[in-house]
């Protein structure tokens, strides 16, 4: 039943998007998409509605250091053990459609992802919002001895699906919200298989190349979805930082309380509450090539 509801929801979102896209097709000539609602497809450890022009290759380096709790003894986490790193490549295969692959240090996870920006906000508000779908399937690449005795290959899989809605309110302010569904086939004790989360993030541009950026992910405690008893709901992920963008690069440095780098890890496995000691420094760097 639950599976059917999700299938139906996705079909509705796709169908709704296609109709709107067709309706705006004829008006695009006079009402162009807004300029750069965000500088990159990444906003800290989340996605934006931005997809670069067709045949653009994006290389992303994402890094989260250790927590700052030990102060100068490990240079506020920069020299701490337990850093997490993701290297990712994505390619824009068609207008507003992107596919990608990434490898994350934690659990040697390989993720295959895709993003489709169904709607772009236009300058004269013919389309007032941007709408994007993002999803990934990730494979836990650890040795099978790390799993339990009844190991099956499907135990390695997790997935994530997200609907993102965004609006550029002015040259300086762009905001996004969204809802996501995360699923792990196999979880550790105390974690949930499925989680729905809400997302809110944005940027405030303070110079032609610089922006203050923030992100907030809130995993929802929905008993009917995953009624595990005596489990603590995962903690929200709060991050804030600064972005510098150039013609081919976006550099984002930030602090946040989740060590995950793929979205389902952030939503399902984050048990670090929002507390200064739990914050860690991180960065995301993207490099673009046009073909």
């Amino acid at each position: 039943m639950r599976k059917n509801i999700f299938t139906l929801s996705f079909l509705l979102v796709f169908a709704f998007g296609s109709v709107l896209a067709q309706e705006t097709e004829t008006e695009k000539v006079i009402d162009k998409p807004v300029r750069s609602p965000f500088e990159s497809g990444f906003l800290i450890d989340n996605q934006t509605t931005v997809i670069h022009p067709v045949n653009t290759l994006e290389f992303a380096i994402q890094h989260k250091f250790g927590t700052v709790e030990n102060g100068h003894s490990d240079l506020w986490g920069l020299y701490a053990s337990g850093a997490n790193i993701r290297l990712g490549l994505s390619y824009v295969v068609a207008n507003n459609v992107q596919v990608g692959i990434g490898v994350t240090k934690r659990n040697m996870t390989t993720d295959f992802n895709a993003k489709w920006t169904i709607l772009e906000q236009t300058r004269n508000n013919t389309v007032p919002l941007a709408l994007a779908l993002y999803g990934n399937i990730a494979i836990d690449g650890r040795d099978k001895d790390q799993f339990h005795e009844d190991f099956k290959s499907s135990n390695r899989l997790s997935s994530y699906a997200q609907v993102i809605v965004g609006r550029k309110f002015s040259d300086a302010i762009s905001l996004q919200t969204g809802v996501s569904f995360s699923h792990y086939n196999l979880i550790e004790m105390g974690n949930y298989h499925d989680k729905v989360a809400l997302h809110f993030n944005g940027r405030f541009k303070v110079s032609p190349q610089g922006s203050i950026i923030f992100n907030f992910d809130a995993p929802l405690d929905l008993d009917y979805l995953d009624s595990a008893e005596n489990y603590d709901n995962p903690k929200p992920n709060l991050s804030f930082g600064y972005e510098i963008s150039t013609s081919t690069h976006a550099f984002q440095i930030y602090m946040g309380n989740s060590s995950g780098l793929i979205q389902q890890d952030i939503i399902v496995n984050n048990h670090s509450k929002i507390d200064m000691d739990n914050f860690m420094i991180g960065f995301t760097i993207t490099r673009l090539w046009n073909f």
């Binding site: 162009k32 300029r35 022009p53 045949n55 653009t56 040259d171 032609p208 190349q209 963008s245 150039t246 013609s247 081919t248 046009n290």
Partner: protein, 119 residues
């Protein structure tokens, strides 16, 4: 990385501009509202080589083999908008092509309008 000293740099030589661009008209010439867009695009895409005032003294200019002529020179400003469009958007050698990075024609002219203000 090798740095070329100013005295080692060579001028780029005359541009071969196709007739299509020589006769190209700037359809957004009088649109003052685009100056802000032009400045934003210049800062993002051009400033690192051409410098904040277009004098060819940006931080990346040091590693170029070719000298970067200043935008405030009479020689540069005497060129037609179409010629500057070709030089800025199509490019050659060390001057990259910006057709994909600045895909919208309105944005391209906004940039050229901004270059005109760097006198």
């Amino acid at each position: 990385m090798a740095f070329a000293l100013p005295q080692d740099k060579k001028m780029g030589g005359p541009w071969e501009i196709p007739a299509k661009y020589k006769s190209m008209k700037n359809t957004f010439k009088d649109d003052a509202s685009l100056l802000k867009v032009g400045k934003m695009l210049y800062t993002k895409h051009c400033k690192s080589c051409h410098g904040s005032k277009g004098e060819g003294d940006g931080p990346k200019a040091r590693s170029m083999k070719t000298a970067i002529p200043p935008f405030n020179s009479d020689k540069f400003q005497a060129q037609s908008d179409g010629v500057i469009y070709y030089q800025s958007i199509i490019g050659r050698d060390e001057m990259p092509n910006y057709e994909k990075k600045i895909a919208d024609d309105e944005d391209r002219w906004a940039l050229i309008n901004y270059l005109r203000t760097l006198k």
